[in-house]
């Protein structure tokens, strides 16, 4: 089996051919689905758990604390212990709650993030599906999650939950616009919605550098809007623990709560990888124009490292926001979107369209 | 305003009352029935301007209740203490001053809650801390066999 750390397409192709040679085509296809599903599930669990750990460590260091350090070396298996604890906790049944929706809600949230992760290109040739409308798909799928939030808040028959859910609805629907528009900036530059094409177009430099100031603006807009879209601080109005105790998941316990919790962190991961893919070149190493020597050295670092490095950087920035800023109020939140982000984004798109039309960007 | 001067002004306004300026603050004793009228004069008179009711509390003197009002003028910086006796110990009633100072509304509720003094014309005379049907714990004859430990 050919294995190349710099290009996984050979490996995946070999597995594909192997399966089709051994089995009838239908079974081969099903087996492939199962393999991909299991791998993604594993990635999901590991990444989710360690993001929780990372968050706790990052905020601890910002707050002059040590953070988890009792379970395992540096507390590395703390979150696994937490997960086991959550698994063993009682699932409290809320009387007068809408049982069906109440039980479904966490799954909707988690399935949405699960679907989104399928389209993420981790390295060259290492992605489950490569749609030609990848960016569009990611946006569409990740906004299914808000339905889970709304259902959770509505069905749990709690006033705090309902307020939280309504806030979340208003927030996600508004910020979806800005996320879309800021992604559109790069789509205009690269001329494609396919994530692999967007990455390939950054072989000679990332869009954040090639696209002049408008690309940087789009990147910042994307960071802000996507932080809001995934309900993280300072936009965590849906949870707002000092106002609504825990917002939409006040009434959830045990593993259902863990689903919400994991879903939130996975959304952060998805958003960060999308930002890394679209603006920072995904798994593409840092290339500067025609500096062959420098580019060669950068190529030496495997794409997986590049991809995770960029993603972790953006996750850190999102965490940095959360642990520094006070929470916005709902009207400030909407003002920020409709008065600042959206108009700036629209103007930005116009400027980018003009730049692309004139061919002024670095090709 | 100085204490003596304040005493003179008060004596002029309320000739029937005995103004005591010997303690640390000017004090006088008023009739229960007049308390609202006197309070209104104290607040609105240009020379007095007692706009800040810093304190209001009741004392159970076993045969009667006393209500004590501490007033301060934030503009002129003088203080007066008014004391009034409610003779009826079984059913103490006094006029409210909560229309003059908003803080009195809550302080009177506290007095009602803990001492059982009723305030007429009070907009919202409910218990503040304790449940309905609890006794009036600051009365001297209050007994609680369960929670009270005598030493």
């Amino acid at each position: 089996m050919p294995f190349n750390i710099y290009d996984f397409s050979g490996t995946t192709k070999a597995i594909d051919q192997f399966l089709y040679a051994k089995m009838p085509p239908t079974w081969a296809f099903v087996t492939e689905l199962a393999i991909v599903g299991v791998i993604i599930l594993l990635v999901y669990a590991v990444v989710g758990l360690y993001l929780v750990y990372a968050e706790r460590k990052v905020c601890a260091f910002m707050q002059n604390r040590v953070g988890p350090n009792r379970v395992g070396k540096w507390g590395l298996i703390q979150t696994i212990a937490d997960l086991i604890k959550l698994l063993m906790k009682e699932l409290v049944v809320i009387r007068k709650a809408d049982q069906l929706l109440f039980n479904i809600a966490p799954f909707i949230l988690i399935i949405a993030s699960f679907m989104a992760i399928a389209a993420i290109p981790f390295a060259k040739g290492l992605h489950a599906v490569d749609f030609n409308i990848g960016v569009f798909y990611m946006m569409a799928v990740s906004s299914i999650g808000v339905i889970g939030t709304l259902l959770a808040g509505w069905s749990s028959n709690s006033k705090y939950s309902l307020i939280g859910a309504m806030r979340s609805g208003a927030q996600v629907v508004s910020y979806e616009l800005s996320v879309g528009l800021s992604l559109l900036a790069v789509v205009i530059f690269s001329g494609s919605m396919q994530l692999s094409v967007i990455i390939e177009s950054q072989a000679n430099g990332w869009w954040i550098f090639k696209g002049h100031i408008p690309a940087i603006i789009a990147f910042v807009m994307f960071l802000i809007a996507s932080t809001a879209e995934i309900n993280r601080g300072p936009f965590d109005l849906a949870e707002a623990e000092s106002e609504l105790t825990a917002g939409f998941h006040t009434e959830y316990s045990g593993i259902r709560f863990a689903f919400f919790f994991l879903g939130e962190y996975m959304n952060m991961f998805i958003v960060a990888s999308l930002a890394a893919t679209v603006f920072l070149g995904g798994w593409m190493p840092l290339h500067i124009g025609n500096l062959a020597g420098f580019n060669h050295v950068m190529d030496f670092i495997p794409p997986l490292v590049w991809y995770f490095g960029k993603t972790v950087f953006i996750i850190y920035v999102i965490m940095w926001f959360k642990w520094t800023f006070p929470r916005l109020r709902i009207d400030q939140l909407l003002t920020l979107e409709w008065k600042y982000l959206l108009p700036i984004n629209l103007v930005n798109i116009l400027v980018i369209a003009f730049i692309v039309l004139m061919g002024w960007y670095i090709k | 305003m100085e204490k003596e001067q304040l005493g003179l002004v008060l004596a002029e306004l309320f000739p029937t009352l005995e103004i005591n300026t010997s303690g640390d603050s000017v004090r006088f004793k008023a009739d229960t029935a007049d308390i609202h009228k006197i309070a209104a004069v104290l607040r609105d008179d240009k020379r007095l301007q007692f706009d800040y009711l810093f304190n209001l509390y009741g004392v159970d003197r076993e045969d009667r209740f006393s209500m004590i009002y501490g007033l301060e003028s934030t503009i002129l910086g003088h203080i007066v203490v008014i004391e009034t006796d409610i003779a009826d110990h079984d059913n103490p009633i006094i006029d409210t001053v909560s229309d003059l100072w908003k803080t009195a509304q809550y302080q009177e509720r506290e007095v009602y809650d803990l001492m059982g003094v009723k305030f007429t014309n009070h907009p919202d005379l409910r218990r503040l801390f304790l449940e309905d049907g609890w006794g009036f714990p600051l009365r001297k004859d209050y007994k609680d066999d369960i929670n009270f430990i005598e030493r």
């Binding site: 300072p234 000092s242 105790t245 800023f325 006070p326 929470r327 709902i330 400030q332 | 934030t74 803080t103």
Partner: protein, 376 residues
């Protein structure tokens, strides 16, 4: 906003109002306080505070305790201003019995009060930041408060409820390290306080959430008896330290911080500026503590002569009044505490009218309520 009866709330619920109970167990009420809130969407229709969840009957308990014993109860009213509460009773007893305390005691009491004020404001800042959603503020506030608590612990053994100031003076002399540590703290905190400004004061989100929110006019502040930083944020000059100086406050030079806006922002700024002022007061006194006894001679059994006595001090929350009716016994006949938080609390119904539910949290945070002080 008119006060609403409990029966009205019940009927209102049938009318379809959205009634939410914030508290008694809620992260932002800082204790067992309950606000009954009626909502129209995010907007507050009315807010009714309900108190009494930790009513312990301190006034009644005082009637069975000697004056030195009362001191330890006052700790438990406003536990963040324990020194000032102790000092209020001590000053009253000293005034009534005619005892002159040594100069040293006055200086130490003033320094302790100001340290306690800084500690209280630090905790308020921490909790206010947390109410706003900035959890990091909470840790920074507590981190710096720890230094003051260490000073307290070294000198008199406890961190929160000190019972250190007693009628006649102090329970014991200050620790030899006290001055050194206090000076170190001032040096440290002068560096850290600007960070507070960077993290919250200048922050655009924070500014928009506090500026113009919960405006209280000066007339209302006086009428509601809202004192301390709450009153001073509305330009109500209510500082007892200036009006009726006690202990060593007549010997130090400090500004009474006044802001005219009357909104949450003004109340916030008053407290932050008061921390600077308190540090100035401590710096003026810390090197000049006169030598002498740490306590005046008191009679073995303290009896107050028959009469009525009062003493007001400025705690971190405002004007604390202690009122005693004595019949010449060793127990007070009636003891009343006019606590600042009690009077500051009831402003909230008026301040929150027409704001959003998030503002209720911000405004009640800016009032700096300590619930045991309300309930007593």
């Amino acid at each position: 906003m008119q006060e609403v009866e409990l029966s009205d709330i019940l009927t209102a619920r049938e009318d379809g109002d959205y009634i939410v109970n914030i508290g008694p167990q809620h992260p932002s009420t800082h204790g067992v306080m309950r606000f009954v809130v009626s909502l129209k969407g995010e907007m507050l229709e009315y807010v009714i505070p309900h108190c009494g969840y930790i009513h312990r009957g301190i006034e009644k308990m005082c009637e069975r305790m000697t004056y030195p014993q009362i001191i330890h109860l006052t700790d438990r009213m406003d536990y963040l201003s324990a020194h000032m509460n102790n000092e209020a009773v001590s000053l009253l007893v000293e005034k009534a019995t005619g005892v002159e305390v040594p100069e040293r005691v006055k200086y130490i009491r003033t320094i302790l009060s100001e340290l306690q004020r800084i500690a209280s404001h630090q905790l308020w800042w921490a909790a206010f930041g947390m109410d706003m959603g900035g959890l990091t503020c909470f840790f920074y506030g507590l981190r710096d408060r720890e230094h003051i608590l260490d000073i307290f612990e070294e000198s008199f053994g406890s961190r929160l409820l000190h019972s250190y100031v007693c009628p006649g003076g102090l329970m014991g002399d200050i620790h030899p390290n006290f001055q050194k540590r206090t000076k170190e703290f001032i040096k440290y905190f002068r560096k850290k306080l600007p960070e507070y400004d960077q993290l919250l004061t200048g922050n655009v989100i924070f500014e928009q959430r506090t500026k113009g929110m919960g405006i209280m006019s000066k007339a209302d502040a006086i009428s509601f008896g809202a004192t301390g930083p709450v009153g001073r944020g509305s330009n109500f000059a209510c500082d007892i330290r200036k009006k009726f100086p006690y202990s060593a406050y007549d010997k130090v030079d400090f500004k009474e911080i006044l802001y005219t806006e009357g909104d949450s922002w003004a109340r916030y700024k008053v407290r932050v500026d008061e921390m600077w002022e308190s540090m100035k007061i401590i710096e003026q006194l810390i090197d000049n503590i006169p030598e002498g006894d740490y306590s005046a001679k008191m009679k073995p059994v303290i009896k107050l002569p028959e009469g009525e006595y009062s003493q007001r001090v400025e705690t971190a929350k405002g004007d604390l009044g202690v009122f005693v009716v004595s019949k010449g016994e060793k127990y007070p006949y009636r003891m009343h505490f006019r606590t600042p938080n009690f009077n500051n609390l009831f402003v909230i119904s008026q301040l929150c009218a027409g704001n959003k539910i998030a503002d209720l949290i911000a405004i009640s945070g800016s009032l700096d309520l300590v619930i045991p002080d309300i309930d007593r």
